[in-house]
């Protein structure tokens, strides 16, 4: 199973608007390690628009603007659930 790629912008705008808290929380969550790959990234062509859209996170193909930990976790669960249930027939995580 290919892990879900989660990229968190750690440019200064995004860090200050909560990006640092998001990436630290994701990295500290041991439950995610088996199916999520977390990466720090630089600003995507100023997608954060001078901070008004910060912080920027991508989950798989989806771009999340003004990301919060709640929204990012929800999106990870949404993308992960079919993968986990489908890949090994193991019990799915609590949604």
């Amino acid at each position: 199973m290919e892990p879900i790629r989660v990229r968190v912008c750690v440019g200064t705008n995004c860090c200050f608007a909560g990006g640092e808290s998001i990436i630290e929380a994701l990295e500290d969550d041991a439950d995610l390690a088996s199916f999520v790959r977390i990466e720090a990234m630089r600003c995507l062509d100023k997608t954060c628009a001078g901070g008004t859209e910060s912080p920027i996170v991508t989950v798989g193909e989806r771009l999340v603007k003004r990301a919060t930990l709640e929204v990012v976790m929800e999106e990870i669960e949404r993308q992960a659930l079919p993968l986990i249930v489908g890949s090994s027939g193991k019990e799915g995580r609590d949604a």
Binding site: G11, T12, N13, F16, E24
Partner: protein, 534 residues
């Protein structure tokens, strides 16, 4: 259960959000050159009127943001009852001179939810059980079951012994302590007559942990953001130097290397950057020398006493020189909140705490000795440094103090991206041990290692504590003779400076970054230009 200030740490909460938005808003306001009286309009650009975001209604939000703006300008709170505008007297804050005055830490009454101070309460989990061990174990008969219903605790009788909390099979009884008061290690927070939190400024040591522990963001410190911005906007030759506290590494994101931070400081107008670990090196040498000399004197004294006392028998203990007495420890001086707490609560130990300047002042001194007209801004995790820099004898050295969070707001407002900037050279000036001052244990560790390696001291007994409550326990034990250390380190913040209220990064990651940066130093042991002269 972790300490109250650890429970929200590292989370980006609406309290973090409103604080940072105000810092950014004010920075943009000042940089855009708007007139002071226009500040009355600023809160409306932060609050969405008619659409409550943080609290019950936007008018309340507005009223609180006004107070936060005042504090961010370094000015006193406005009287809430007589409709004073935010702009009242605000012109005086548009300066590069110091306007900051005590008190540094303030309660915004409009934001305070009047949490009960300290109360044992029965929650809805109570099943009105047949056994009701709660009322059986209660030593003061404070628990009753009105109308045969859930348990009820008579607050007038309750002595908070916690016996009922432990006895309840449903864990339905809990103790609720006001978070600000729980965070305060010097018991400086009480309720006023109306139930609002109130800080006893004679007890407060400005550690600032209450400001990050209040879940309603009702306690805030003043800032010097506006005055520093005026310095940065001034002519090149009068722009300030940035002094970076040892805990700075990694605070601005994992892609912002020390060199990138230095380049960013340059880009927002600072003349140059020095690391405060340099001043830490001066302090290490000073204290290591002193403690090595003391130990040597004590050894001589003990040898003399032993030679004299040996025929008379063992165990009398008489004839030991004063310097070998159990209470003759040397206390570190780099954390101002710890120093104030130790001196106030243990006056008998006041003389044990080193009188030396803090690393902040030592580093500022290094700059001002070479360039007396230089201006210096200390940037750190610390709120107590804001108060320290107000002391008349230190004012000539440190012009202003910012937190990492306040500096980050300047980077954001000026659209400086430290992850993309061309990094400048960050000179390896300070020792590994000096850079380690940021983490609890690092100060005493540096002094002990230097005393032993450089000045031939025997292995030293070290006692250390972080958080003021633990510091007080440590000193009580020394006072009671339970331990007799040579060297005592106290830190007000959990984990040391990396756990300070003005930090941006989680504790574990911050410690790790400080360690990695310390390993890059050219030397492990400190060298100091002044050679430890006082």
């Amino acid at each position: 259960m972790p300490e109250v200030f650890e429970r929200m740490r590292g989370l980006y909460t609406p309290c973090t959000d409103i604080r940072r938005k105000i810092f950014i808003g004010i920075t943009r306001f000042v940089l855009s050159g708007k007139k002071p009286e226009d500040i009355d309009y600023l809160p409306f650009s932060i609050i969405d009127m008619g659409k409550p975001t943080y609290r019950c209604c936007s008018y309340k939000e507005l009223s609180i943001v006004r107070q936060r703006v005042r504090l961010a300008f370094g000015l006193p709170l406005i009287e809430e009852r007589n409709n004073t505008p935010v702009s009242a007297g605000i012109g005086q804050a548009f300066t590069r001179s110091k306007v900051l005055a005590a008190p540094i830490v303030n309660v915004i009454t409009a934001a305070c939810e009047k949490c009960p101070e300290d109360k044992v309460i029965v929650t809805n989990m109570c099943q009105t059980c047949m056994a009701h061990p709660c009322s059986i174990v209660c030593p003061v008969n404070a628990i009753s079951f009105p109308e045969g219903g859930q348990a009820f605790i008579d607050q007038k009788k309750c002595v908070k012994c916690m016996k009922c909390v432990k006895a309840c099979p449903y864990q339905s009884i809990t103790r609720m302590v006001r978070p600000c008061a729980a965070a305060c290690g010097v018991d400086a927070i009480h309720s006023d007559a109306d139930g609002y939190a109130s800080i006893d400024q004679d007890k407060c040591v400005n550690c600032g942990l209450c400001t990050v522990s209040c879940p309603f963001a009702a306690i805030s410190d003043k800032t010097e953001l506006v005055q520093v911005l005026h310095q940065l906007m001034g002519p090149e030759e009068s722009r300030p130097y940035a002094l970076l506290a040892p805990s700075f590494v990694g605070q601005f994101g994992r892609l912002a290397s020390p060199g990138a931070i230095a380049a960013g400081l340059r880009a927002v107008g600072f003349r140059g950057t020095r690391e405060v670990a340099l001043g830490a090196d001066c302090d290490t040498i000073l204290l290591a020398k002193r403690i090595a000399e003391r130990k040597a004197a004590a050894a001589v004294g003990a040898a003399v006493a032993e030679a004299g006392a040996a025929p008379a028998g063992v165990g009398s203990g008489a004839g030991l020189p004063a310097s070998a007495a159990p209470k003759a420890f040397l206390g570190t001086s780099c954390c101002p909140s710890w120093v104030m707490t130790a001196r106030r609560h243990f006056p008998a130990f006041a003389g044990n705490i080193a009188e030396s300047f803090t690393p902040m002042v030592e580093t500022a001194r290094l700059i001002k000795e070479k360039d007396p007209d230089a201006r210096v801004v200390f940037i750190g995790p610390c709120i107590a440094k804001k108060a320290e820099a107000l002391e008349p004898e230190l004012r000539p050295f440190v012009d202003h103090v910012l937190t990492f969070e306040e500096l980050a707001a300047i980077f954001v407002a000026k659209d400086i991206d430290l992850a993309a900037i061309d990094p400048s050279e960050f000179p390896a000036e300070a020792s590994s041990l000096g850079r380690g001052y940021a983490v609890a244990g690092g100060v005493a560790g540096a002094i002990a290692e230097t005393a032993e390696q450089k000045y031939g001291a025997p292995p030293l007994a070290v006692a250390k504590a972080d958080t003021l409550r633990n510091c007080r326990t440590m000193l009580s034990e020394i006072k009671a003779g339970k331990s007799s250390p040579d060297l005592v380190e106290g830190m007000a913040c959990p984990g040391g400076c990396v756990g300070g209220p003005g930090t941006l990064m989680g504790l574990a990651a911050a410690k790790n970054e400080v360690g990695k940066f310390a390993a890059l130093s050219a030397a492990r042991l400190p060298e100091c230009e002044c050679g430890g002269e006082e």
